[in-house]
Amino acid sequence: MVAHDRESCRELLGALSDYIDGELEARLCQEIEQHLAECQDCQILVDTLRKTIRLYQRERPEALPQAVEERLRQALASVHASATSRPE
């Protein structure tokens, strides 16, 4: 494993999420791409960061269990009932 502590890598580290999200200004994007072309560690870093996000996005969302939804509706109904029966 290579120690990833070069000054140039560190300088760019904070901007990588913006870069991945396409929220970075063009000039800085270019700077990062130039750096990536010659730094394998940073290539791996960007690639594994992207894959981290995509892994979580791939997880099938948990469905809301019907019993949970039913209890939520009951809780709301009782709140409404107590609100309407209470004199203003």
């Binding site: 494993m1 580290l13 594994t48 996000i53 996005q57 791939r58 948990e62 949970v68 939520l72 409404h80």
Partner: protein
């Protein structure tokens, strides 16, 4: 399409704010129908257990239906609900371990930007690999290990798919602060998962 959705939302808000309690109750039921799966999913990731996720879900919708009069329409209804839900969840998480807050070092110790340690290639695409039970557990565990403020930012932005501005709105912090939290969360998760994959490869490679 977007305009129609926008109009529907305006109508729903008007109904929620109606002084006619029957109309308000029906609108509240509609609110549950549309948003409860998302809020539950968010709460489950944030809290880690179905029991606590359900409590957060109930508290969120009760609070939303009670305070809909205060909803000024500056953000989308969904973002507003995420904001309530995140607040409820984070408050519970902080109450859960008061001793950790008083004894432990301040937050900066664990929500700092970590310098990447694990720099090994992942030679696969996330879309191609099998999401085994074991991998799902590893994903959940990595999220659970994040400091709660980073966790909330990651869940809203990367799992729930809110924009950076909406995430900032839901967290009640600036866009800049949101980006910092999101970045730190992603770096920490990447680090945890790298360790997991390295260990898994070692085991499976030898088998």
């Amino acid at each position: 399409m977007a305009t129609a959705a926008r109009r529907d939302e305006q109508e729903l808000i008007a109904a929620l704010q109606s002084s006619d309690s029957a109309i308000a109750a029906a609108a509240c039921a509609e609110l549950v129908q549309i948003y409860s799966p998302r809020i539950y999913r968010m709460a489950l990731k944030l809290m880690g257990t179905p029991e606590e996720a359900e409590e957060v879900l109930q508290e969120t919708f009760i609070s939303a239906c009670q305070h809909i009069g205060q909803f000024a329409g500056r953000s989308a209804l969904g973002t507003w609900l995420y904001r309530i839900g995140t607040n409820v969840g984070l408050m519970r998480l902080r109450r859960r371990r008061p001793e950790a807050i008083s004894i432990d070092a301040p937050m900066e110790t664990d929500d700092r930007e970590v310098l990447p340690q694990q720099l090994v290639e992942w030679r696969w695409q996330p879309e191609e690999i099998v999401l085994s039970q074991e991998l799902r557990q590893a994903l959940d565990q990595a999220v659970a290990q994040l400091p709660e403020t980073l966790r909330a930012a990651f869940i809203l932005r990367d799992i729930e798919g809110l924009s950076t501005a909406e995430t900032a709105e839901a967290l009640g912090i600036s866009v800049t602060a949101t980006k910092v939290r999101l970045h730190r969360a992603r770096l920490q998760l990447r680090e945890s998962l790298s360790r997991y994959f390295a260990a898994a490869e070692g085991t499976h490679g030898r088998a």
